[in-house]
């Protein structure tokens, strides 16, 4: 098992005919992911490297049985793309696109929560990988190996850093999910923790947070109340100054809220050990796995 994606995953790509979409989707396919369709209105009937293109997602889903959509379309078209994938009932939508206006996402989020039949990962996220099974998005598959650690993160390259350190130590991963760094993302830490808790393959979870918002604090409460699976955490941004937006639209410390310190304390209060840097996190994971036996 794994969470969200596995060997049964069939992916339809929104924006496959674009530069980013084709580059990463072909990499995903090389990894072994079933990329079954692309969608570009007006290019229906064509093929890209053997992958059939459709005019609409619903047509693609019906024809190919795709159960995951991944979107690389430009920010101004991406909200419509998410809604289209949800409307086609593909079940999981992964939106890699960054720079979607917050108001657009607020509306999309509200709409998706009403229907509840579609999970959205992202936007502004690297996607997710279940090592050895399926890779959807831009995470480099080479730095992962299959194993017992579930990883969930708001960040991209920082996640790679942690995955790399784990892999270097010989510790594999069940699924690594980049939930995205925007103020509004479809899937929260808690959504992933819930799934990891249910996944028999995941023996331990590493959570990588960052400044801004209160998702880490909520995750700490959730872990405390609901999780048997051990969790270790890492927070980026201890030295970030208040009021500055640190790259991610969501990464901003407002007043006394959203600081890395507060988040680390929340985790520690919930019995979650917090690493000070990526190397320390990897060490904590190693220790915790050893103690599980």
């Amino acid at each position: 098992m794994a969470i969200f994606i596995d060997n049964s995953t069939k992916v339809v790509v929104q924006g496959l005919t674009g530069q980013q979409g084709s580059f990463h989707s072909l990499r995903n396919r090389d990894y072994g992911t079933a990329i079954v369709a692309g969608v570009t209105p007006g290019k229906g009937g064509q093929k890209i490297e053997g992958i059939p293109i459709f005019d609409t997602v619903s047509e693609a889903a019906v024809e190919t049985g795709a159960n995951v959509a991944v979107s690389y379309v430009p920010a101004r078209f991406a909200p419509d793309g998410i809604l289209e994938a949800a409307d086609a009932a593909v079940g999981l939508v992964v939106c890699i696109t960054e720079g979607i206006p917050a108001n657009d996402m607020a509306r999309v989020y509200k709409h998706l929560k009403r229907s509840d039949s579609t999970s959205l990962i992202g936007p502004n996220c690297p996607g997710l990988i279940s090592p050895g099974k399926s890779n959807v998005g831009i995470i480099p598959g080479e730095i992962c190996i299959p194993g017992p650690v579930g990883l969930v993160s708001r960040s991209g390259t920082l996640t790679y850093q942690v995955m790399h350190e784990l892999t270097t130590m010989g510790i594999g991963q069940s699924t690594c999910v980049g939930i995205g760094g925007d103020p509004i993302v479809g899937t929260s830490f808690i959504d992933c923790l819930e799934r990891f808790e249910q996944d028999p393959e995941t023996k331990l979870v590493a959570l990588i947070g960052e400044i801004g918002g209160d998702e880490e604090e909520k995750a700490a409460d959730f872990i405390n109340a609901n999780m048997e699976t051990p969790v270790v955490a890492y927070i980026a941004g201890f030295t970030a100054p208040p009021g500055k937006r640190m790259g991610h639209a969501g990464a901003i410390v407002s007043g006394s809220k959203g600081t890395a310190q507060a988040k680390a304390e929340a985790f520690e209060a919930a019995g979650v050990r917090v690493g000070k840097n990526s190397t320390e996190v990897a060490e904590l994971v190693k220790d915790a796995l050893a103690s599980i036996g």
Partner: protein, 379 residues
């Protein structure tokens, strides 16, 4: 993008939110002539994006052009918490009978808009929330449904503002919401919103932040942005499309990905150093991006060293190395550049750097080692 008070008020005027009559001035003479045009008593207000300008002497009352010129002279050029005052707003003085507060922002926890109105204006709203919760009305707005009239009622009645101010405040709330949505703002705050002796309700101050991601819908806002980016190094970064924030240390930081760069700042701190900046070259950066990034970071004359921390994914470490070699070739590099490369094509990248063997390039194996070296080799 955070706007200056006068820019926020330009938007208020466009969305018909009442404000005092005013004029912007960049010199004492302009200020004096503005006072003459406005007539009567005026307020001279420093235009800075930082709180506490009043206590710092950045707001002065003046009567007539001479007093206004003097006030402007004393305020222009003032340093308020590191912000140099380049502009003053000259406004007709208002006859303030009562002060209130109104704001709207995206509440990321609730994933809804949050509207707040308080009968206690001119104060820090977090303090009001903590100490006088009855004086604060908060409501969430459903993004699909939008602001409803009953919610406006809940705010004006629930906040306990004066009955005379209710209809004026209700109108301002409606227009604030329209501005928030139509201009793609992330924050609109009026503190204080005042009731005048004449029974009008006005926005005496403005705090507006716009969503950078939505600027494609608002080409006319580009000019606001030009004024906002006043720091020369920040402007240089913006021209090169780099995600840059000025900090106050002496170690220049370059990395790929916001999370990784934040983590790099932390590791430098743990190693006893202080970062001079945050610079994220973004995903899939090429040689030019790296070369540009180094140019921006090295333009800081107080720098002691630079740390380049790259984890290649889409980004290829060989291209990163080429960019570094290009930069050290064309720039006058007076500080050491510690470079750590990992991920896609990292070996090839390290080889390129080693072949170039530039005296200022210091290789490092891991993030921690790189941070340690960046502190160590500082000049």
């Amino acid at each position: 993008m955070d706007l200056f008070e006068y820019q926020g008020k330009e938007l208020f005027a466009r969305w018909a939110i009442p404000i005092p009559e005013g004029k912007l001035a960049t010199t004492p003479d302009e200020a004096a002539s503005a006072a003459t045009t406005l007539g009567g008593k005026v307020v001279v207000k420093a235009q800075v994006q930082v709180g506490g300008r009043g206590k710092a002497g950045g707001i002065k009352l003046a009567d007539g052009s001479d007093e206004t010129r003097q006030a402007a002279e004393s305020i222009l050029g003032m340093d308020i918490k590191g912000h140099i005052v380049e502009r003053v707003l000259i406004e007709k003085a208002s006859d303030i009978e009562d002060e209130y507060y109104a704001s709207i922002l995206l509440d990321r926890a609730a994933k809804k808009y949050l509207l707040m109105v308080s009968s206690k204006g001119g104060m820090d709203i977090e303090e009001v929330a903590a100490n006088e919760p009855d004086a604060l009305a908060k409501i969430h707005i459903d993004p699909l449904l939008g602001l409803q009239s009953f919610q406006v009622n809940q705010l004006v009645f629930g906040s306990g503002i004066d009955a005379k101010a209710r209809s004026g405040a209700a109108e301002i709330i409606r227009r604030m919401f329209a501005l928030f949505i139509e201009a793609d703002a992330t924050l609109v705050e009026i503190n204080p919103m005042i009731l005048t002796g004449q029974g009008e309700v006005l926005a005496l101050d403005s705090k507006v932040s716009l969503d950078d991601s939505a600027l494609f819908r608002h080409p006319d806002f580009e000019e606001l942005r030009e004024v906002v980016a006043t720091d020369p190094q920040e402007r240089m970064a913006k021209e090169r499309d780099l995600n840059f924030i000025k900090l106050d240390g002496d170690i220049g930081i370059i990395g790929n990905g916001a999370g990784l760069v934040m983590a790099t700042l932390d590791v430098v701190d743990q190693a006893g150093g202080r970062a001079a900046n945050f610079l994220d070259v973004g995903g899939g950066a090429g040689a030019d991006d790296l070369s540009n990034a180094l140019e921006v970071v090295l333009s800081d004359t107080k720098l002691g060293s630079v740390l380049v921390n790259i984890f290649g994914g889409i980004t290829r470490c060989d291209l990163v190395a080429e960019g570094i070699v290009d930069a050290v070739g064309r720039l006058d590099v007076r500080v050491p550049i510690v470079v750590r490369l990992d991920g896609t094509n990292a070996e090839e990248g390290r080889r390129i750097l080693s072949v170039a063997s530039h005296p200022q390039i210091v290789p490092a194996e891991t993030m921690s080692e790189a941070a340690g070296k960046a502190v160590e080799v500082k000049v």
